[in-house]
């Protein structure tokens, strides 16, 4: 094959390959994970986090406002400590409450923020006081069964 023809085809091939990589990075993957967005960190303690994992979304009113950075266990309070990385452009009142919710019946767990009414906003390093633990399906079923049993006993 002619020299310039070979050059042209190799050029097409390389451009195509790089285009495919860009397609994977921009269209299939999320661009947010490439650029580490500036954020502030807030922590919260829970009695039970269920199946919450790092990188799970943090949502408020259904909009993703940040991600779970880490999940650890505190030896002092004997509770789970969840650190949240929130986007700087979203501000929440200091008395906001966080809860662990599930998307769908069997979906992944995420953290929901319900804004409070305080005048000051949450800042980097703050701790959210009001938390609501994950609903553990086994416990709910257990309570339901227990309730049914005691109902029968009283009849």
């Amino acid at each position: 094959m002619e020299r310039s023809n070979v050059d042209l085809w190799v050029g097409v091939f390389v451009a195509f390959g790089i285009g495919a990589l860009l397609f994977l990075a921009l269209k299939a993957g999320n661009v947010d994970s490439i650029i580490k967005s500036e954020g502030y960190k807030v922590s919260a303690e829970f009695d039970n986090i269920g199946g919450l994992k790092p990188k799970a979304p943090v949502k408020s009113a259904g909009v993703i406002v940040g991600r779970v950075e880490s999940v650890t266990f505190s030896n002092q309070s004997l509770r789970a400590v969840v650190r949240l990385n929130l986007d700087k452009q979203f501000q929440f009142p200091a008395d906001s409450s966080v809860s662990i919710l599930t998307s769908g019946l069997l979906g992944d767990q995420f953290v929901g923020i319900d804004p409070g009414g305080a005048l000051e906003n949450l800042e980097d390093g703050d701790r959210v006081r009001i938390t609501q633990s994950a609903i553990v399906l086994e416990k709910v079923i257990g309570q339901f069964l227990y309730g049914k049993m005691s109902e029968k006993d009283t009849d």
């Binding site: 094959m1 020299r3 070979v6 050059d7 085809w9 190799v10 097409v12 091939f13 390389v14 195509f16 390959g17 790089i18 285009g19 495919a20 990589l21 397609f23 994977l24 990075a25 269209k27 299939a28 993957g29 999320n30 661009v31 994970s33 490439i34 994992k53 790092p54 990188k55 979304p57 769908g104 069997l106």
Partner: protein, 264 residues
């Protein structure tokens, strides 16, 4: 007693032989890599080899990628339909392609399309004594012939794997969104929320780079070490395909064990 002796000595010979071959291959590859500066001094050699290994494999990679995506989309849809979460089909297609199928299937196709061609080319050059002729003219065949072929394959493979994954995702999109009618927004947004750039895409690229190095090294070595007869070259080509396939699958297991398990 003599029977056992025979079996044991055969085992010993096979072991020594394979270790010897491994050593020879390492020395050969070290020599090729150390003479690779020719690739920078005469880039036209490399361009010709990228054309030989990459451009000529383009059609098979695009067509197979598309069909793998179509099948993944169909099967994923049929299974996810039972749980009422057909929107997740995009996630399924993208993750399985980017993490596993893209690099692995592209590497297997690359080994059978380009690897075998590289082995045959070097083997026939050896059979027709072109390599010896080069040595007589004080041209090092490691540098002039083998190094550009190795680097050509090494560069082509990650690009081919990326094209394979991209075509597969397009195939999955075509069958599930265009033909079956899954919601387009759910398809892309669920995919984007679960495909991570570092964890999934970058690890897939690393895999394809490793596979490209392995397949290209096996192909050039088998060609160079082939017995210079018609039968010897045909055996070398067979060995290239078989060894590359085994190497790719074994390496894939090791890399997956390192990349996708443990604390995330």
């Amino acid at each position: 007693m003599t029977f056992f002796r025979q079996i044991l000595s055969r085992l010993g010979r096979a072991t020594i032989n394979s270790i010897w071959r491994l050593g020879e291959a390492s020395v050969f590859m070290a020599r090729v890599v150390s003479r690779s500066s020719i690739v920078l001094r005469r880039p036209r050699l490399l361009v010709a080899e990228i054309h030989f290994a990459g451009v000529l494999s383009l059609v098979i990679i695009i067509v197979s990628g598309l069909f793998v995506g179509l099948v993944l989309g169909l099967q994923g849809y049929e299974t996810l339909k039972r749980y009422g979460s057909t929107g997740a089909v995009g996630t399924l297609v993208a993750l399985s392609l980017v993490r596993e199928l893209g690099p692995v299937v592209a590497a297997l196709l690359f080994a059978s399309r380009a690897g075998s061609a590289i082995t045959a080319k070097i083997g026939i050059m050896k059979t027709t004594e072109q390599l010896s002729a080069m040595e007589m003219m004080a041209v090092d065949p490691h540098a002039r012939v083998v190094a550009p072929m190795f680097w050509g394959g090494f560069i082509s493979m990650p690009l081919l794997a990326a094209i394979f994954s991209a075509m597969g995702i397009i195939g999955g999109y075509l069958i599930t969104v265009v033909v079956i009618g899954v919601d387009s927004g759910a398809f892309w947004s669920q995919m984007q929320s679960s495909v991570d750039f570092h964890h999934d895409i970058l690890n897939g690229v690393i895999k394809s780079v490793v596979f490209g190095a392995a397949v290209s090294a096996i192909a050039v070595y088998e060609g160079y070490a082939s017995v210079p007869t018609a039968e010897g070259v045909s055996r070398a080509v067979t060995r290239t395909v078989v060894t590359s396939a085994l190497a790719v699958l074994a390496l894939d297991f090791v890399l997956t064990a390192f990349m996708f398990t443990g604390a995330h």
